[in-house]
Amino acid sequence: MSLALHYIANLLLILCLVTSMIQSRFLFNIQNYNLFSISQISAIQFLSILVSFFILIFLFITSDFNFDLVYFHSHSEKPLIYKLSGVWGNHEGSMLLWILILVLFNFLFSLSKSRSQKFKEITVAVQSLMIFGFVLFLLLLSNPFNINNENFNDGLGLNPILQDPLLAIHPPILYIGYVGFSLIFSLSITGLLTSEVDKKWATIAKPWVFAAWSFLTAGIALGSYWAYYELGWGGYWFWDPVENASLMPWLSATALIHCVVVLQRRNTMQSWTMVLAILTFSLSLAGTFLVRSGVLNSVHTFASDPGRGLFILIFLFIILSSSFLLFALKSEKINKPSLHNISSRNTGIMVNNWLLISILIVVFLGTMYPLATDLLYNQSLTVGPQYYAISITPIIILFLFFMILSPQLSWRESKLLKILNEMRYILISCLTITFLTTLYFDLFNFTEILIIFLSLILIISSLSLGLNFKSTKVIVKSNFGQSIAHAGFGIFMLAVVSNAVYSQEKIYDAKVGSKLQLDEYIFDFKNIEQEEKDNFNSIRAYLSLSKNGKDLGEFSPEIRFYSDPPTITSETSIIHQFFSDVYVVMNVPQNQESISLRLHIKPFMNILWLGVIMIILGGIITAILNRKKYEENAIN
């Protein structure tokens, strides 16, 4: 049985390899093969990978330890959901998942309506060339279907910290984001090859780029939320190299979605859009694989293997050099003279593009600097989070300013004074709110006050642009997605700043029965219990929380002792209130009498996640709302 599955899976991978080769023939002007249509071959590509992915899932669920991958990364006593997430909790499996999404996008695109048959053929060909490269890599260097000749009774298990429902869905979501940009990349290459980067190109690319961006945002957010409650450090973002690796493509993708909109509306910024499309995909590739290659020193490195990093670096080099060469050859042809005034929306978007790229450079330097000094001077060092905070804050302030201004500007020309006049009520009300908050909370840091003020204006002005308030009803405008996302960003920034200012933490050595205090909260430490669960033993502490004599709920932080592999994890316990989270982590007891507890008050966390959800929703709405227009334009 195992042997049969091993052969079937490998044959399916080879089938995908062959079909991808057939698909990429359009790049080389070979037309004499017309047995199946493009979408039919794409369907074969997709199905072959889908079935082999199902085989891998089947192997994990049935715990077939004849396969290396299952033996190293699974265990028969693991709950079903973690057997499933074990499929992509390792290098080979996550590669297969990556390829599955790659062929899925290829398949979906081949079904969609496009500007011309030729345009579709070339796009699918570029995409298939990439599929070919990755499947070849999978077969030769990281085959998930390798079998062993031993008869292992049980597997080695999955790192317990990864045994978390959120982390089971985090990689697929993040990968859909990353891989989505492969299609944008293929579209760009096609656009460059055919010299057709124009309004129609943008109309075709727009839903894909917004969908990919939404998934990438959601993937990063899930990872951040996981770190917030699972790692128990009280933070949600640590400027860790792996987090930065996912932030960099996001920054460039955020610039890209705005360029695509400008291209669609004004038929300008062609070169810049192409550069960003290539950059975003390269950063996505680097993001996924440098993380897995172990080049980046990080707390999040789980499955690392330096040898494979080399392949990715070579692949990255080929993609970057060939696409930028193509760009250099073609950029003159695709550029149209731009006719717009300096005080137009184009300028605003352009400035914010530059600001986003500046943040990208900050993050890039901070992430790569330690690598460089290690290689050049053999000196290990780390860049502290302060660096990011101090460098990015001034950029964010400018960014917020232009984010408020740009949507108010028209595409052609606007008078700044007129805009100021139109916005006077918003400005005055926000100034008043900021002033009152400042007084109420004793906030006297100018930077923080400025960010709060700008964020407030952003929230209100964005919402008022997307909604039209008539006397009796509210009309949702076509730019509702943008409005929601921008307001969400304002809410997010507001929460980030307030959270940074008002977070509190305290560590206690507590005995059962004692009462602990942090700010106005009283923690009543009730008891400790030991429990035995399916695949771990746990020690649980019970505390109740009250404020001003009012009961707010129960905490039950936990320490888990896993045996396969032997690991200890802390489970945080969080009470979510509207304005602040109260957060308790316990430590492995060092002695019998007392136990270390760390208490956190994290204000505005709910509001922070609300902002993030609005940003994601905005992206999804834009991707979907655009569809109708997209179909119409594509046919014409």
Binding site: N159, I161, N297, V299, H300, T301, F302, P337, I342, M350, V351, W354, L355, S358, I361, V362, L365, G366, Y369, Q379, S380, L381, T382, V383, G384, Q386, Y387, I390, S391, P394, I395, I507, Y508, D509, I559, P565, P566, T567, I568, T569, S570, V585, N587, V588, Q590, N591, S594, S596, R598
Partner: protein
């Protein structure tokens, strides 16, 4: 100068200024926020005392961990040649254990003690910080 050239020039200059300022701020900040990593031998050799925050990494020496209540811990970090005694108040990470790799962040005092404000943990019980592997290899204490 024609209009388009003028516009391009303005655009170029504005971008250049924004870009230049950004890079300046970045480099200036980067220099101030670097935390260097040392092994115990390097710290003792260079006598890295002072107010600068540094990282120290190595193995937790066996039978050196002492707790004196209030979440205060004392332990020694060794690279096989030298050891440095570390004082830390806070919660030790779950994967902190004797004879395992550890990285601490803090200040090395004049009296030869290291006051740590952070003990860094990794997710994986088999994971060893690359810096620690490197320094252990240099002192010949690294075992595969």
């Amino acid at each position: 100068m024609t209009d388009t050239v003028k516009k391009r020039l303005i655009k170029f200059l504005v971008s250049l200024i924004i870009f230049g300022i950004a890079i300046l701020i970045i480099v200036y900040n980067l220099r101030d926020n670097i935390v260097y990593f040392y092994s115990p031998s390097e710290i003792i050799e260079n006598n890295q005392t002072g107010s600068q925050i540094i990282r120290l990494g190595g193995l937790v020496e066996s039978e050196s961990v002492v707790s004196d209540g209030d979440s205060i811990f004392h332990f020694n970090i060794t690279d096989g040649q030298e050891q440095i005694s570390v004082k830390y108040q806070g919660i030790l990470p779950n994967l902190f254990a004797e004879e395992k790799g550890v990285v601490v962040e803090g200040i090395y005092m004049n009296d030869g003690r290291f006051i740590a404000n952070k003990v860094l943990a990794k997710h994986d019980e088999n994971y060893m910080p690359p810096e620690v592997i490197k320094s252990l290899k240099e002192t010949g204490k690294w075992q595969e």
